[in-house]
């Protein structure tokens, strides 16, 4: 995060270990904090877990829900989308997101991950965590955050599958990633790190350097706004711009393999421990809280969706249980380390009721073919989670509260109404931002490479027409 701290860390910690007399004295070397090995191991593990959430988990979850003629196209869009964003992240995404710049965008100092490793000194740069004098290797932070950017772009695909051109997917991802993911992540998550908060004056400077939504004081532990509202709203816009699948509402478009969908949902749950508990950035109590909340809220949401569906529609379905799990995971994402166990119960049980309506009643009212319910599950679940985070952060409701003064490390809570309003402002800004960017991006795609495949190709299925292969041969 803050370049100044990083460089000191680099030089102090590693160069000196090798060349004790050159740059600093031994005293300075002893004083410079270095990354904790346990934290590093946990964050590397978390990063790999989040990768698993996209490939294969999201691919299988989405793929099972489409018709068999489009199975590979979904897997391919997720697989390549994930890879594409990872490349963009290392070229300019990380730099524009997690370095100082304006409250909306970062700067260019880390283009091509420049400065994260010094081959002459053999030194690695450090990024900040949420504890003073507890740095992490910046490359670990780069990789961890790369997986977030990549899965967010892939989430959108669920709204537009079975009819979008593959080249259109790629161009859209480049545009939306650049103009929505990057600024939103910068606004919500970029700050100088706790070590920048040494005095009141330094704190003011550090606050002014942080992203806009961070400055407001909004809580988003692992991406309720950055990931789920951001992607969910973009998906709905895409469903509107693209139009409905041929035969939508008349022909059967039943999922071709709920077995795959169940495997995907389960792997999402597994990988989400890295997503949420990893967002503590350290292997500490906050990670433990986030881990348990993620586990519990998801289980609550499975039970809750099943009961609602059983009562309203007559049967408890596997797809319903899997959808409940994902809704629970989405809603607990902004809350994970920001609420206590009571919050996890309420968020998990509540979100499924809302998202069930989002996929049934609300979906009919909206009238768009949001094919795999990205809006109904991710946007609604993300909004619910983001707002509930503001309330259940309250220590009197079992929440951990938040740091009100980073100089002293004071923990407090501004009050339910106050924090709720801050959360609502963050939700509103992200909702509008991503909607506008997604709309423009889809229009650009439409008038350049084109958005939709031809009617004939859509009937034949994208696996054969776009990729020249079949998922299943019988």
């Amino acid at each position: 995060m803050k370049t100044f701290g990083r460089i000191l860390g680099v030089v102090g910690a590693l160069a000196i270990a090798l060349l004790p007399t050159l740059v600093f004295g031994d005293d300075a070397a002893a004083a410079a904090p270095t990354p904790n090995k346990g934290d590093t191991a946990w964050m590397l593990t978390s990063t790999a877990l989040v990768l698993l959430m996209s490939v294969p988990a999201l691919g299988l979850f989405y793929g099972g829900l489409v018709r068999s003629k489009n199975m590979l196209s979904v897997l391919m869009q997720v697989f390549v989308g994930f890879s594409l964003v990872t490349v963009l992240w290392c070229v300019y995404g990380y730099s524009l997101t997690f370095t100082s710049g304006t409250p909306f965008f970062g700067g260019f100092s880390r283009l091509f991950l420049n400065g994260t490793f010094d081959p002459v000194k053999g030194a690695f740069s450090y990024a900040a965590t949420f504890s003073k004098a507890t740095p992490m290797y910046e490359l670990v932070y780069v990789a961890f955050q790369a997986t977030f950017a990549a899965i967010t772009c892939c989430l959108i695909l669920g709204s537009i599958v079975e009819r979008i051109k593959f080249s259109g997917v790629l161009l859209f991802i480049v545009l939306w990633f650049t103009f929505s993911y990057i600024p939103v992540a910068h606004m919500v998550w970029f700050w100088d790190g706790p070590d920048a908060y040494t005095t009141a004056a330094a704190a003011d400077m550090a606050n002014a350097d942080a992203g806009l939504i961070w400055q407001w004081g909004a809580l988003d532990f692992a991406g309720g706004t950055v990931v789920h509202i951001n992607a969910g709203v973009a998906g709905l816009v895409g469903a509107f711009v693209l139009g409905k699948r041929l035969g939508y509402g008349k022909e059967s478009m039943s999922p071709h393999s709920l077995t795959m969908t169940m495997i995907g949902a389960s792997l999402l749950w597994f990988g989400w421990f890295g997503f949420n508990a990893g967002s503590a950035l350290e292997a500490n109590g906050s990670a433990a809280l986030a881990f348990m909340n993620t586990y519990l809220a998801t289980a609550c949401a499975v039970i809750s969706w099943m009961l609602v569906e059983w009562i309203v529609k007559g049967k408890p379905s596997m797809l319903g249980a899997a959808s409940g799990a994902v809704a629970g995971l989405v809603a607990i994402t902004p809350a994970a380390g920001n609420v206590g166990i009571p919050g996890a119960f309420v968020i998990g049980l509540g979100v499924s009721i809302l998202c069930f309506w989002g996929c049934t009643g609300l979906k009919k009212m909206i009238g768009a073919d949001d094919s795999l319910d990205v809006f109904g599950v991710h946007a609604l679940g993300g909004i619910f989670g983001a707002l509930a985070t503001g309330i259940f952060n309250d220590p009197s409701l079992g929440g951990p509260g938040l740091v009100t003064d980073w100089v002293m490390g004071t923990v407090g809570y501004p009050g339910r109404m106050a924090q709720f309003v801050i959360q609502a402002k963050a939700v509103g800004l992200v909702f509008v931002w991503t909607a506008v960017v997604a709309f423009i991006s889809f229009q650009v795609v439409k008038f350049t490479v084109g958005l939709r495949v031809s009617e004939e190709e859509e009937r034949e299925g994208l696996d054969i027409t776009a990729h020249g292969e079949r998922a299943y041969t019988a």
Binding site: S252, M253, S254, K313, S317, K364, D373
Partner: protein, 112 residues
């Protein structure tokens, strides 16, 4: 010669095969099919989307038999495939003009 074509419930296939063999039928061809008759389909629900599935999975058996065996064969199918509930299926009997065993060139009843 007659061609018997019967549509039955899939899980009754083994019973029907056995009954036909006991009745003296020498061979048959089986196909997995879908269709509907008086038995209605069902509805499937995937989140908000409701689909009515009108075609029910069935198994079709075809057997060519000499005229002398037709009655026993049909009785055997009815006996083995029946459950008494709706959707048990149907038996159709067609005239069969000609039959050839490819290996030997035998024709008519000798080919069956």
């Amino acid at each position: 010669m007659k061609l018997i074509s019967a549509v039955i419930k899939p899980f009754k296939l083994e019973d029907v095969r056995q009954a036909l063999a006991e009745a003296g039928v020498q061979g048959m061809t089986v196909t997995e099919v879908k269709g509907f008759g008086r038995q209605k389909g069902h509805t499937e629900l995937y989140r908000g989307a409701e689909y009515s599935v009108d075609f029910v999975p069935k198994t079709k058996i075809e057997a060519a038999v000499p005229d002398s065996l037709v009655e026993q064969a049909v009785e055997a199918i009815i006996g083995a495939a029946g459950t008494g509930s709706i959707g048990d299926g149907k038996v159709f009997v067609f005239d069969l003009d000609h039959a050839v065993r490819i290996r030997t060139g035998e024709t008519g009843d000798a080919a069956l």
